[in-house]
Each structure stands twice: as C-alpha cells, then as structure tokens.
Symmetry: C2
Subunit: 186 residues, 2 copies
Amino acid sequence: MAEKKSDRTRAAILAAARERFGAEGYERATIRSIAADAAIDPAMVMRYYGSKEKLFAAAAEFDVRLPDFGDIPLESLGEVLVRHFLARWEADDSLRVLLRTAVTNEVAVQRMREIFAAQLEPTLRRHAVDSPAVRAGLVSTQMLGFALWRYILELPPIVTMPADEVVFWLGPTLTRYLTEPSPSQV
Amino acid sequence: MAEKKSDRTRAAILAAARERFGAEGYERATIRSIAADAAIDPAMVMRYYGSKEKLFAAAAEFDVRLPDFGDIPLESLGEVLVRHFLARWEADDSLRVLLRTAVTNEVAVQRMREIFAAQLEPTLRRHAVDSPAVRAGLVSTQMLGFALWRYILELPPIVTMPADEVVFWLGPTLTRYLTEPSPSQV
DNA sequence: GGCAAAAGTCAACAGCTGTTGGCATATGCT
DNA sequence: AGCATATGCCAACAGCTGTTGACTTTTGCC
C-alpha cells in the first residue's frame, strides 16, 4: 500500500487502453485518446508505461494458460474447448484486443500463436494423438474464424447465436479435428 | 487508346497499393510508400485516385461473384467451396488486402460481409436448406479462420498444408454445416 | 515547327502523432 | 510544522501524414 493513488491511475490507463486498442486497433488508438478516456495527461501514460508499444504489451498481457484437460476423454474435448474459449472471449476484452491488433502488430501475432499453438498443442500431445501441431492448428482456424465474425466483423447470425447453439455446431467440428485419423502421407 | 502512358502508371499505382495494403494494412501503408514503389510522385496518386480512401476502395475492388453452384449436390458442395475459395485466395492478393484491413476499416468489413454472407446465402437458398443465413455464416467462420491463420498470422502447419489435405479436413466440416438439421428452436 | 493538353515534379501546408523536459501541486513522513 | 518525493499538467519538439497548388516537362495533333 506504499502508493495507492498512482496504482489507480495506472489501472485507469490500462482499462482505457484495452478498450481503445480493442475497438480501434493499434494504429488508430492514440495515446492522447487513451489519456483522455482515463481523464489524465498524455504524459502520464509515458511516465507509467514508457512507450506506446509497452502500453500495448501490458494491455495484451493476460493469463493464457489453459486448464488441465488431461482427464477429459478425447471425444468430448471438442465441446469442452468450445465452451472454454467462448467463456474466455466473453470474460474480458484482452482477446479482442489481441485479435484486432494481431493483423498489423508482430507482438500480437506471436502472442496469438503462443496461445493457440503453443498452449493447445501440448494439451493434445497429452492425449497421444498423432500430428498434434496440425490438429491444434485446425482447431485454431475454426475457433478464431468464429471469434473474428462474432466479435470483430460482426456478422448478424453469428453475433446473436446463443452459446448452446455454438457448441452444437462447432463442438463436433473440433472433435473431428481431434479424432479423425490423419490422411496417409505420400 | 487515347491515353496509354497514364494507364500504365495508373496500373502501377494500383499494383503497389495492393501489395502495401495487403502487407501492412490500411493505416501503415502510406501514400508516399506506395508512390515510391510505383516510382512516381505522391501527387500522382492523388491526381489519379483522389484520396487514400478511394485508392483503397479501388485496390479492394474485384469480382466477388460466386459461380453458379446450383447443379452441385449439397453433399459435395462443401468440398467444392473449399477448393473454390482456396483457389480464389491464392490467385491474387485482393482477398488478403480485404482481410488485413477489414479489422480496422469499415468499408472493408462491409465488402467482406457482402462476399461471405450476401453472396453465399443466395447460393444456399437455391439448395432449399433451412436457415441459410446461419449456415452461410458458419461456412464463413471456418473459411475465414483458415485464411487468417494461413495468410495473415502464418501458423506453420496451416501455411504448409497442401490443398488436398485442406479439402480433406475442411470439406466435411462445411458439408456438415450445410446438411446437418438445425437444432430445435426454443 | 508551334501549341494545347496531358503527365510528372517540387515544395509546402496544416494536422496529427509519440515523446520529452520543465514546472506546479499534492502527498506522506518525521 | 517543514520538506522530500510522488503525482500531475503544460507547452513544445521533431517527424510523419494526406493533400494541395504552382510549376516544368513531355506528348500528340494541326
């Protein structure tokens, strides 16, 4: 409790940054606009976070660790993953920040790969499937494609789809990507 | 053949614009850099295209019409769509331009919706499936998610996947989105 | 060759950007 | 109380952006 005041404005800056980055992407979100949202001077942002890049890194920072899905049978892992990611996306806007900026920002791309590939692949490896990297990639394509249309591009039927229906459609897709034998290699 | 010289530089500008927009997105691609690539003066870009927005609109302009898939049985339409979109993506970089910029540019978003929803939905409607909008949306999530990882975020196993394997994995997914009966509505 | 129009060049503008240093104010300790 | 320190604000910088207008060169027609 050494410094309480500064912590509050630090948090205000971070919250404003997340919102702006998530809504407008990296380039359009200006330090001035973020500072205005947080009702402080732009210079404060620099004092606390050093640079725009570092502020962004802080805004996109969050716990990426997947829970341990080791004891879940492979046949129902698809459904579990859909529910988990959906809850993740809707909990806060860190992932939206990441997706919106990953398209132009290299740091964001790498963190995205980290989450979807580096995190998912070991989980699958624990289930002893073959070519886990490919399967993790396939799962990522479906999950991220869904998130893109639902949260960024906002296609009406996808935006309004209730969680249960999302699971109904996407669950079996993921399950297939996890269980279907790989095509024979040449 | 009234003005040949100008047509050539017009085309050079457009080509450079497509490359820059596709590689860096709307904001990072500057008129000055595009002009430099085309080896002309930035003022020429303005003379020929009026503004950056209009140049972008021209760069993202292309024929979005899907061929007539009316006589293809619904069961194999998934596979056909995968092959068609894959060929489309790889033919030129208009779609990459669109995807990279759709995340921050409203014009690009609308054109994206136009392609994937407005174009795909009538095609499905012709096959007399129920809730064509939802099905078109689901197909879009899988296709665009795949494109995102393959062409923008560049996840290794997805980038290197040969076309036949893409069809093997994604084809049945789309087919299911097109043929599976909708969940009962509450 | 002479000349109008097209094509291209140059320099500058106004506005916005991230970033910096100096200065005022409030805070908290002794 | 007094004072060091943390917190905040202001004004300005250098650089880049899209865009503009005046100027020069080239082209094509009579």
